[in-house]
Amino acid sequence: MNEDVKLSEDERDCYQEITNVAMGQAADRLARLLGVYVVLPIPNVNIIEINEFKMTLKSLEGNDTVSAVCQGFIGAGIAGEALLIFNDASFSDIAQLLNYPGNLDQHEELEMLMDVANVLNGACIQGIGGQLDIDFSQSHPMVLGQHCSIANLLSEKKNTWKQTMAIEINYTIEDHNINCDLLLLFTEDSVLHMNRLISFLLDD
């Protein structure tokens, strides 16, 4: 990559709208799985540098420890990762909604993390794919950490990338202490491909 990737206002608006529809589909599935109402905010779309990425992660932390799962997806020249970050305080409420009995140990928390990741990641990734007419391959989810601080999620990795397009979706569930963030992260090359794909959606 020689030049910095930039998004025009129209392009940013387009990604926001595409994500809005995809996250609506994801929320619908989560809502039906848990029997709740999922609060949907407007997604944040930004091109960020590696340092800003680490700061974005830190800002999601709050006072709580987190658990995180990430899953890669790829197709039609577009590659990225879905990073699902869960506030650990959320687990007991989710356990109730999913009817997991008794006290939770790390094993059960992992089960719930995977259950929620499967629903949210899958619906978002395929939801975006559906609107762009792409059938994305999804890799197995990988646990980045359980009960850790965000700083530990990305320690000492050799960074081969400069910029990423980050789409941040925050899910909260009404009347429950459940809070998770889904970060869709696209590589620099992908953004160029996607800008070409969405240009037909932007044409008058």
């Binding site: 990430c70 890669g72 790829i74 590659a79 990762e81 059938d135 391959s137 890799s139 990795k157």
Partner: protein
């Protein structure tokens, strides 16, 4: 449902599964031309099935060491036996990007592969199927362990 209908349904299921499965499937003929190319291969290579089918494997993917690969594959064609390669021998066959391009460390996807003989009605092996597995996570762990033990 009649027997034919059941067969057709099962056939469609298999086709769907082979397209979505998280492993690469490539069928090659005796001249190493590509006859089958599944969703995994398409999405990781950026080459569509209609582009891949009929093309020669080594022409499309110059990163594959032709002599090394053919030695392994010929054994499968001639002996009707399976062959395996592991990432410790060669990190990859196809140079694909790491599935975790943002949070991951590896520069590319580490791969294990299996080659299985496919026989015709006469029992001769006239095609082979190459199955590609992503073993990047395991490879990274092994690497970390080796570093710690130094």
């Amino acid at each position: 449902m009649s027997d034919t209908d059941t067969d057709m349904t099962e056939f469609h299921w298999f086709m769907d599964i082979l397209q979505t499965i998280d492993a690469g499937l490539v069928v090659l003929d005796r001249q190493y031309n590509i006859k089958l190319w599944n969703g995994f291969m398409e999405n990781h290579s950026g080459i569509r099935p209609d582009q891949a089918k009929g093309s020669n494997l080594f022409e499309l993917f110059s990163e594959i060491d032709q002599d090394w690969f053919m030695k392994k594959a010929e054994a499968v064609f001639l002996l009707n036996t399976r062959a395996f390669t592991i990432s410790e021998q060669r990190p990859y066959l196809f140079k694909f990007k790491n599935n975790h391009p943002i949070t991951g460390r590896a520069e590319f996807m580490y791969q294990n592969s299996t080659m299985i003989p496919l026989n015709n009605i006469e029992g001769a092996t006239d095609h082979i199927c190459l199955i590609i597995y992503d073993v990047t996570a395991a490879a990274m762990h092994k690497f970390d362990l080796a570093q710690k033990l130094k």
